[in-house]
Amino acid sequence: MNEQPQTERELFIPGHYGCPGCGATLALKQTLEVLGEDTIVVMPAGCWSTLIGIYPYTCLDVPVMSVAFATAASTAAGVKAGLSIQGNEHTTVLAWAGDGGTFDIGFQALSGAVERNDDIFYICYDNEAYMNTGIQRSSATPAGGWTTTTPDSALKIQKKKNIVEVMAAHRIPYAATASIGAPEDLRCKVQKAKGIQGTRFIHLFASCPTGWRHVPELSVEISRLAIQSRVFPLYEVIDGERWQLNPMPDKIDVDRYIKPQGRFKSMTPEGIQRFQKQVDWDWRVLQSRCQSIEKEN
C-alpha cells in the first residue's frame, strides 16, 4: 500500500516527549494526515497534553488548545460555536481526549455535547488507563488488567465500559471503533466522519508499551491482535441505530493478544479462559446486533 500524506506541510513535527513506540502519538499523526490543516484540536489533560512539548514549543502545526481535564467536549463545542458565529463552518473541531478524559471525568461533558448534537469530531484515544499520571485504572481498563490502583493483589474486576454503546444510546449520527492496528480502516473512518454534520465519535485503540508492559516494537501488532482476537472489534453505528461490522481478519484466541503484555502476566489459565468466554460472548452479542438490523431491513 502506498500512503501519500494528504497535506502539503508536515503537521506532525518530531521531537515530542512521547514514549518510544507510543500508540497515541501514532493515532493523532494518522488522524491529522486525513483531517489536514483546517483542523483545530482541543485536548484535555492526558498523555498528549504533556508529550506535545514544553511551553513555548509544540510538536503540532495545527492550532491546539490544552484544556482542563473534564472539558474536552464542552470546550470543543464552544470553539465550534465561536467559529460558526464568525461564519466559519468548514474548520474541523477535533476533541482529542484519552480514555480518562472520556470515559470518566469527561463523561458528563461528552454526553452533553452529544445530546445537543454539537458539530464536533470527538476521538477518544484509548490506552486503557490514566497513563500520563503513571498507569492508574480507568473505566476503560479491561477486567484483569494490572494498573497501579488495581495491582496484582486487587486486579480490576469490572468489565471495560462500552463507550460506543453509550454514544449510540444518544442517537449520535456516527460512532465507530478504530485502531492503530488497522490504519486503512482508521483513515476511512476519519474521512467519513469528517464529512458528517453533528457529533461524530471514534473510539480509537492505541497501544501503550509503557503501561501495558510490552516491547515498543509491538505497538501496532498488539493493536492488530486485539482486533483479530475480537477483544477490540471494528464496527460502526449510524444514527445510534444501524450497527455494522467492518472487515476483520479471521478470529484468533485471546491468548495471542494477552501473552505479549506484562500487564496480564498474573492472569491464570482459568483467568484467560474466563477472558476468552467474555470476549466470545461480547462478540456474539455484537454480531447479533449487526445482523438483527439487517433482518429488519
Binding site: 513555548p56 472539558t71 470546550t75 458565529i85 464568525q86
Partner: protein, 387 residues
C-alpha cells in the same frame, strides 16, 4: 429609552446590546431569567448569537472559553453552587486571558440550601484572577456589563459582574436603556491578536516550566494592576456618552469623615441613608462602597480613606476561621497608610438577611461605643444570631 426592568432582565438587555456572539446557558436561581431572556432574543432574531444549552456550569464556562479562544465574544451567567462548580475553569479563563463576561447573582452557598443574597460565592473566587465588580443598583448592572466588555477586551482578562440575589436580580427599576448605535460606538467588535486560527497554528497552554510560568504570572499580575485605571478611563467615556458614572470606588461624604461604613453591592443605598442620619446626630460619618473588588482598587481606596480614623465594615460573607473577606481586604489595604486605623468588621445580611439603615446605624454605634447587640466571634461581630 426608558424601561422598567429587573436586574436579570437588564443583564440580558446589556448582553444583547454588547452583541455577544456565544451564550452558554445553564439555569440556577436567581440568574435563570438572564439566560431565558437571551434565548428568546436569539430565537426572535434580535440577537445574532449561538446559544448553547450546556449540561452544567463547569461546561458553561468551558464552552465560553472555547468560543473566546476561537475569537468570539462570549457570555454566561451563574450563581452560588454553579459558580463554585466552575471554580477550576474560572482559573482557566483568567489564566488563558479570555475576555469573557459573566453575570453572577450573589447567592448563599449550601448546605443548607439558601437562595438569597450572600457574597461568599464570588468572594471565594477572588483568587482566580477575574476582574470582579459589584453592582449597586439595576442601572449599574446594565451599564457595568457594557463597560466590562470594553475593559475585558482591552486587557484580555475576564470580568465577573455581580448583583445581589433578589435585591437586584428580581427588583425592577426605571432604567435608561442606551441605544444600539451609541453602544456600538462605545464597544467595538472583538478582534483578538491571539486566537485559534488555522492560518497561524500554535498550541495554547501546554506544560510549562517554572521559569516561564513565573514570568507568565507576573505578566498577568502586571496587566491586572492596570485595570483600575482602564476601568476609570472607560467609565469616564461612558459618562460622557451616556451621562452616568460607575466608579471602581464609590465614596460618599468621605472628605471629612472620621468614620467610614464599608460594604459592597446593593447595601449602598442603606449605607448612604445611615451616613446621612448619623451626620444629623453630629457624627462625621461617610460610606465607602467598593464597586471593584478585584483588582483591589488601591489608588481610589487610599484617596477615599486619606483622613479616616475608623472603618466599620459590613461583610455579607464569611471566610471561616478568619473573618469577613472585605474586612480582610480593607485591613490589608489600610496598612499602606502606615498609621493605625481602627477597623471593626460585622458579619451581617448573609443568607438573605435584610440590611436596613437602622441596622447599619446600630453597627456604627456598636463600633464606636464598644457595646451593642452583635456578638463577637474572633475578629468579627455577628449580627442577629440566636442566643
Amino acid at each position: 429609552m426608558k424601561k422598567v426592568l429587573m436586574g436579570t432582565e437588564a443583564a440580558a438587555v446589556a448582553a444583547k446590546l454588547a452583541r455577544i456572539q456565544v451564550v452558554s446557558a445553564y439555569p440556577i436561581t436567581p440568574q435563570t431569567v438572564v439566560v431565558e431572556n437571551l434565548s428568546d432574543m436569539i430565537g426572535k432574531g434580535e440577537l445574532d448569537a449561538r446559544y448553547m444549552t450546556v449540561e452544567s456550569e463547569h461546561s458553561a464556562m468551558a464552552s465560553c472559553i472555547g468560543a473566546s479562544a476561537a475569537g468570539a465574544r462570549a457570555f454566561t451567567a451563574s450563581s452560588s453552587q454553579g459558580l463554585a462548580l466552575m471554580h477550576e475553569v474560572l482559573h482557566y479563563a483568567a489564566g488563558g486571558r479570555f475576555p469573557i463576561v459573566m453575570v453572577n447573582a450573589n447567592r448563599a452557598l449550601a448546605p443548607p440550601w439558601n437562595l438569597y443574597c450572600d457574597h461568599t460565592d464570588s468572594l471565594a473566587q477572588r483568587d482566580t484572577g477575574w476582574i470582579q465588580y459589584y453592582c449597586a443598583d439595576v442601572q449599574d448592572v446594565l451599564d457595568a456589563v457594557l463597560i466590562a466588555f470594553r475593559v475585558a477586551e482591552q486587557v484580555l482578562l475576564p470580568v465577573m459582574i455581580n448583583m445581589d440575589a433578589f435585591y437586584l436580580t428580581h427588583t425592577s427599576e426605571v432604567l435608561d436603556v442606551p441605544d444600539q448605535i451609541a453602544v456600538d460606538e462605545f464597544l467595538p467588535p472583538f478582534r483578538p491578536d491571539h486566537k485559534l486560527d488555522v492560518n497561524h497554528p500554535r498550541t495554547f497552554g501546554n506544560v510549562c516550566g517554572a521559569d516561564l510560568y513565573t514570568s507568565i504570572k507576573y505578566q498577568r499580575q502586571r496587566d491586572m494592576l492596570t485595570v483600575e485605571s482602564l476601568w476609570k478611563q472607560s467609565a469616564e467615556e461612558f459618562e460622557i456618552k451616556f451621562g452616568r458614572m460607575h466608579p471602581a470606588v464609590d465614596a460618599y461624604r468621605h472628605e471629612d469623615a472620621e468614620v467610614l461604613i464599608v460594604g459592597i453591592g446593593s447595601v449602598a443605598g442603606a449605607m448612604h441613608l445611615a451616613a446621612d442620619r448619623l451626620r444629623e446626630d453630629g457624627l462625621a460619618v461617610g460610606s465607602l462602597r467598593l464597586a471593584m473588588v478585584r483588582p483591589f482598587p488601591l489608588t481610589g481606596f487610599l484617596e477615599a480613606t486619606a483622613t479616616v480614623k475608623h472603618m466599620v465594615v459590613i461583610d455579607r460573607d464569611v471566610s471561616f476561621g478568619a473573618e469577613g473577606i472585605i474586612a480582610q481586604e480593607i485591613k490589608a489595604a489600610l496598612a499602606e497608610h502606615r498609621r493605625h486605623i481602627q477597623t471593626d468588621g460585622f458579619i451581617a445580611g448573609i443568607g438573605g438577611k435584610d440590611l436596613t439603615s437602622e441596622k447599619i446605624i446600630g453597627f456604627v454605634l456598636q463600633a464606636i461605643n464598644k457595646e451593642g447587640a452583635a456578638v463577637r466571634a474572633g475578629l468579627s461581630l455577628w449580627a442577629e444570631v440566636l442566643p
